[in-house]
């Protein structure tokens, strides 16, 4: 199987992430379908989950993926995770754990950044102090 990659661009920095198809076949397939055309969204800082950036994909195939696949709570640096139904995609840049107001919750791992990781995660980290930035996500 050919590995699928997605391209992330924010703040003038581009990175590529490898989709974790074996871990999350439904979610990654839905994301790939959604990215037939690149999407541009706002990347904001988490307010409950620690050192992670958050984007809201919006309407699309991810909405149909209601179940968790190999669920995780910890969000490691360079990892992209998704809340069920794709309402949020989170990108870890430090110590992160998926949390809501009521406590810890689970997510599905979607991808891991495999190129330009350090530079891109620096851009994500800046959202905590400098506010949101635009992010473009598309297929490689």
């Amino acid at each position: 199987m050919t590995e699928k990659r997605i391209r992330l661009e924010s703040g003038g920095v581009t990175a590529e992430a490898l989709l974790l198809e074996a871990n999350a076949p439904k979610a990654t397939a839905a994301l790939w379908e959604m990215l037939a055309e690149p999407i541009e969204r706002r990347l904001i800082s988490a307010k409950w989950s620690g050192d992670v950036g958050v984007l809201h994909p919006g309407e699309g195939p991810l909405r149909e993926v209601a179940e968790l696949e190999n669920p995780v709570t910890s969000i490691y640096p360079g990892t992209l995770v998704m809340r069920p139904r794709g309402s949020e995609i989170l990108i870890g840049y430090g110590v992160g754990e998926y949390r809501w107001a009521v406590g810890v919750d689970y997510t599905t791992r979607l991808a891991k950044i495999v190129t330009n990781r350090t530079e891109f995660l620096s851009v994500v980290a800046r959202t905590a102090d400098q506010g949101p930035s635009a992010i473009t996500v598309g297929r490689v």
């Binding site: 307010k47 620690g50 949390r99 107001a101």
Partner: protein
Amino acid sequence: MTKLRITIDGITAVAELKDAAAPNGVAAVLAALPLRTRVVHASRSGNCAVVHDAALRDETAGIEGQVSMYYPGMVAYDPVRGYLVFAYGQGQARSNTGTHWVTYLGDVVENAAELAGKLQDTRDRGALDVLIEQGERR
């Protein structure tokens, strides 16, 4: 009653501090004033913004009026980390290792809604300048 004046982006709010319930915390915070620094949105604790400054650290103050949950308008203090927390909605003191305790230091009693708007802005605009001064005692 000790008061704090908190000024962010042209808005000044007043908080009343809990002199009786948190005497060490109130003294530690007053010792750091006036304080010009930055206020940034919380990344783990929900709907609140945080001032963290070395001048606010006082490891001898201890946790008084122990709380974990934040409510709108609440002022909380973590003397070990040197955090002063201003809540504009529901929140909880959380770190990378989980939940923890903080001192319930006081409540915003004037211009709470206006301050809440500025605190919320820190998520949408990034960190903002803040000036914290002692207000008039009543």
